[in-house]
Symmetry: C2
DNA sequence: TCCTTCACGTACTGAAGGTACGTGAACTTT
DNA sequence: AAAGTTCACGTACCTTCAGTACGTGAAGGA
């Protein structure tokens, strides 16, 4: 039954496990998904799963990594289209709010992520993907004098926290005007950081 | 062995379960704590636990409720000392950042809470305690014309999300100046909301 | 061709959350 | 105050879960 070279087969199995567990984690939540359900959906057995991942949490980690890379990519491609650094910040934040409305991203990245891996690990993973962009842009804006001189880290956490929570709320809200209202309020808060 | 009236005994057992599980949940995290560990610490059996709570998640819910009430109380008593509504907002936010540095509150209220109960339920519980105060004050400030007229909800979520994330970061940070920097950045963002 | 490696499958284990049912003391009723 | 009822728990058990030990057969190297 196994097809192709060994490395190919290995990769196919791993991807099937990540893909199916991502789908199940997103719809049911980490705690409500059993490993037996995952391996059945992926068409393999638990032997295969534990050959690739050392634990259920490690499997989740691989899924979260994939999700975060996708989010970072989608934000970067929106932000990098702008020349002005300030506009990169604004459009990047708006892109995040839009992208994060996806329930898949919600549950895995924002709800289960911190609880399963612990907040510090979750933070560290963010730092290497989408979180890095935000800190980078804010740092640039401070350096070029657009934003009032201040430590970057507190600002980064305040803003990313604000957007995370807002995204979760937006996904649950019914009124389509909420997105617009939130973006306006966010931009207003960002404007406050500018030197007059 | 049982002492006093039936209602008294019932209450003692319940409080012992909540107290011990709160301690264990806070130090080890919800997932890492077994029911057997909880009932052993509380000096009862699983029969008692399931007589009071319908599930492990319900027990956690009771713990979270207690924690949130304490936080709301501590914030309210700081904020209510002020006469000016604007100063209530500022001092309330600062009180939240200070109170939320407690690792007990961190783990239960900010990390495990959304994952165990689901984000919407977690949000609903916040809304009835500390979250209500924030929305209340912001609403008052808009009404009295101190803050630019706008929908209250987006603002509330942006701010509470910012403070939640900031609190988690502050608890992990080493530099004592971080708290001050964060509060300054937060106040600056709040100032942006004022009418000129 | 023989041997080694490795990507799995199979069969099992301990512990977890949860349940069914028994029990004895606290309350109620007559 | 005796009999009956309620209820706060304890005991014993079940199911399901994450995790492990070990076997197997095909791929790759000699």
């Amino acid at each position: 039954m196994t097809r192709g070279t060994r490395a190919e087969q290995r990769e196919r199995t791993r991807q099937a496990l990540v893909r199916e567990s991502r789908r199940l984690f997103a719809t049911l939540g980490y705690g409500a998904v059993g490993l037996s359900e995952i391996v059945r959906a992926a068409g393999v057995t638990k032997g295969a799963l534990y050959h690739h991942f050392s634990s259920k949490a490690e499997l989740f980690r691989a899924v979260l990594e994939q999700v975060q890379e996708e989010v970072a990519e989608r934000i970067a491609e929106t932000a990098d289209a702008r020349e002005d650094t300030w506009e990169q910040l604004i459009s990047g934040c708006q892109a995040f709010l839009t992208v994060s409305t996806d329930p898949v991203i919600q549950r895995i990245m924002l709800v289960d992520g911190p609880a399963v891996l612990g907040w510090s690990e979750w933070r560290a993973m963010n730092e290497t993907t989408s979180g890095r962009h935000l800190a980078q842009v804010l740092g640039d804006l401070i350096e070029e004098g657009t934003i009032i001189a201040q430590p970057v880290e507190p600002l980064t956490h305040l803003l990313s926290g604000a957007m995370n929570e807002a995204a979760l709320w937006l996904a649950a809200s019914k009124d389509p005007a909420d997105l617009d209202d939130t973006q306006k309020a966010l931009v207003a808060m960002l404007q406050a950081l500018r030197v007059t």
